[in-house]
């Protein structure tokens, strides 16, 4: 029997039990795709909150926007001269985060297509394992290519390096 989304018995216990119950359903392929779909969805949403706020700087504070996106290439700028500089581990962390973001969106999209396929073409359920394998193959083929493209710039200097040449950083206010 397929369970209802909101079965009262499941929720009567404490928060921790609900959490465990939430992670445990069905088992097998369905459970893993469901769990990864949920976690990638929440992760993308968290990123979007940050992304919308930093893009708002484009209109409100152009200089702050440029200082902010420079952090993505490992460059701290516009602060005190003792702090300003290029930090390669920072650059690596953001690059790996970027890879994680692309992987999350890609998996969420492919698995989402799989879910929609089940919903609008119920016979697809009979091939659900094949479909999940197809999702995995497409995901990994694209991710290998993406990884090469995203990671390879790490082995050369960042494009923003000239920032370090300036003695006085641009003001944090729009120069309108």
């Amino acid at each position: 029997m397929s369970q209802s989304l909101r079965t009262p018995q499941v929720y009567r216990r404490g928060f921790r039990d609900r959490l465990v119950e939430g992670l445990r359903y069905g088992g097998g392929v369905g459970q893993w795709s469901w769990l990864i779909h949920r976690l990638t969805g929440l992760g993308i949403l968290l990123f979007l909150v940050i992304h919308i706020v930093d893009t708002f700087f484009v209109v409100a504070f152009p200089a702050l926007y440029d200082h902010t996106v420079a952090i993505y290439s490992g460059i701290i700028s516009g602060l005190h001269p003792t702090v300003n500089g290029y930090y390669w581990p920072l650059r690596w962390v953001f690059r790996l985060g970027e890879l994680g973001l692309i992987a999350s969106v890609l998996f969420h999209a492919l698995n989402g297509i799989r879910i929609v396929l089940f919903d609008f073409w119920p016979k697809a359920v009979n091939h659900q394992k094949t479909l999940f394998n197809a999702v995995q193959i497409v995901f990994w083929v694209i991710m290998i290519l993406v990884t090469i493209r995203v990671v390879s710039p790490l082995f050369s200097a960042p494009e923003h390096v000239p920032v370090l040449k300036t003695a006085s950083a641009p003001a944090m206010v729009p120069s309108r």
């Binding site: 369905g30 459970q31 469901w34 909150v49 999209a109 919903d119 000239p162 300036t166 641009p170």
Partner: protein
């Protein structure tokens, strides 16, 4: 046990708001596959995060012919993503927050936060105006060759003189 395989816990709601939300997640999701993956492909594969700055954003949103297209793209993307993402968050939290009055609090917080984000995001997309003076100043301070387009060269040459 009839639909055990694959069906798992996925249940189509019988009707009402939850059924609309069910359709919404699928339709917006399919549109977002194109919009979000296209956006990622442009910003992370064709270009990369290290080449993105104010001038890059301006070259898209304030482009004379294609600017309108990119703004419509980004506006559709942010609207669909916000309603899709925060509805997803609501569905997740509804499995953990059962008390109806607590749900009211959680839903209020979720949708207030969403509309605030959608507000500042849409404001940025719709109200953006290219600041030529700022771009020229930035290029000057970062040792780039000043933009040679006719509209920008007089301003940048003035700035070059002022720094000497």
């Amino acid at each position: 046990m009839a639909k055990r395989s694959g069906a798992g816990r996925r249940v189509k709601p019988a009707g009402g708001f939850e059924l609309l939300a069910w359709y919404w997640m699928r339709i917006s999701g399919l549109l977002l596959v194109v919009l979000a993956l296209g956006h990622l492909f442009i910003t992370h594969i064709i270009y990369n995060v290290e080449s993105i700055n104010y001038a890059f954003v301006a070259s898209r949103w304030a482009a004379p012919k294609t600017g309108f297209f990119w703004r419509i793209w980004d506006l559709s993307m942010i609207s669909l993503a916000m309603f899709h993402g925060f509805n997803g968050l609501r569905q997740v939290l509804d499995e953990y927050v059962i008390n109806p009055s607590r749900r009211v609090v959680v839903h209020t917080l979720i949708w207030s936060f969403m509309f605030a984000l959608l507000g500042i995001g849409s404001y940025a997309i719709l109200m953006f105006q290219k600041d030529e003076k700022y771009i020229n100043q930035w290029e000057l301070e970062h040792g780039r060759v000043a933009n040679s387009s006719p509209s920008t060269s007089p301003a940048s040459s003035v700035l070059v003189d002022s720094t000497r």
